[in-house]
């Protein structure tokens, strides 16, 4: 892949990593939510370089439109108690956790970075609403219906768990 696809990939990957770092390092939860939003929007643009047009739109709709807004609503509900400093207590365990994560990520990313498969030409309908919709409709109809039940159960469970006990 050359040309605009490569440029878009470089720009969106930088923004995705910056947003992710902002999410995990910021002291205020609202800034973390904005970092998550930056991460999600840039990943949605990156999906375009992978010919995943429908999933780019779904990423924007579901993640940026629903999940980030849900996080912001919860931050608003909880208020100032949501803010906890980034480095509080248990220094040894968190240092060990971060160090192990960095070692594993360095090992994995440097070893997979040389894996190469030639980009094959894709058909016109690859990743579009028609192509992916027909794939879901033909191969994954039962999982699609089960997903709807899962979402219904999640709604009922969320209401049951979060409902106030003081009637």
């Amino acid at each position: 892949m050359t040309g605009p696809g490569a440029t878009l990939f470089v720009v969106t990957s930088i923004f995705a990593m910056a947003g992710a770092l902002m999410t995990i390092s910021s002291r205020r939860p609202l800034r973390a939510a904005i970092g998550l939003l930056v991460h999600i929007v840039s990943l949605s643009a990156m999906f375009l370089t992978l010919n995943a047009h429908l999933l780019a739109a779904l990423q924007l709709l579901v993640y940026a439109g629903a999940i980030v807004v849900l996080f912001v609503f919860v931050i608003m509900l909880i208020g100032p108690a949501a803010e906890i400093g980034p480095m509080e207590g248990r220094l040894a365990s968190r240092t060990l956790g971060i160090a192990l994560t960095i070692v594993v990520v360095l090992a994995v990313s440097t070893s997979v970075a040389y894996f190469d498969a030639p980009w094959q030409a894709v058909s016109d309908e690859f990743g579009t609403v028609e192509g992916l919709g027909m794939a879901i409709y033909k191969q994954a109809l039962v999982p699609f219906e089960i997903i709807s039940i899962t979402l219904l159960v999640a709604i009922v469970g969320a209401i049951a768990v979060a409902r106030s006990r003081t009637e």
């Binding site: 050359t2 490569a6 990939f9 470089v10 990593m17 992710a20 999410t23 995990i24 390092s25 939860p29 973390a32 998550l36 990943l43 999906f47 992978l50 010919n51 995943a52 999933l55 579901v62 993640y63 999940i67 996080f71 919860v74 909880i78 949501a82 906890i84 980034p86 509080e88 207590g89 248990r90 956790g97 971060i98 994560t101 960095i102 990520v105 990313s109 997979v112 970075a113 894996f115 190469d116 498969a117 980009w119 094959q120 894709v122 690859f126 990743g127 992916l132 794939a135 879901i136 191969q139 994954a140 999982p143 997903i147 899962t150 979402l151 999640a154 469970g157 969320a158 768990v161 979060a162």
Partner: protein
Amino acid sequence: MGIGTYLALASVLFGIGAAGFLARRNMLIQLMSIELMLNAVNVLLLAFNRAYPGNHDGQVFAFFVIAVAAAEAAVGLAILIAYYRIKKTLDTDDATLLKY
């Protein structure tokens, strides 16, 4: 930009999410770190499907990952609100009801 670049980027993003989950004790930030890790897996699925574009299996899987992530976020935030109502804090170090 071969597929290896996408794989390396996805593993770095997953590592950032895992580090955030391990290092932070704020439950909100930990839920956001879970979303970061799910997004990194989606990048992997789409990159492999673009490299082997004979069918849509990877994109179908990423579609279901997005749907399950939405359900997970809803239930996780409901648990967070219930936890905040009991403890008046979001620090997960204080979640010791089952410890003693």
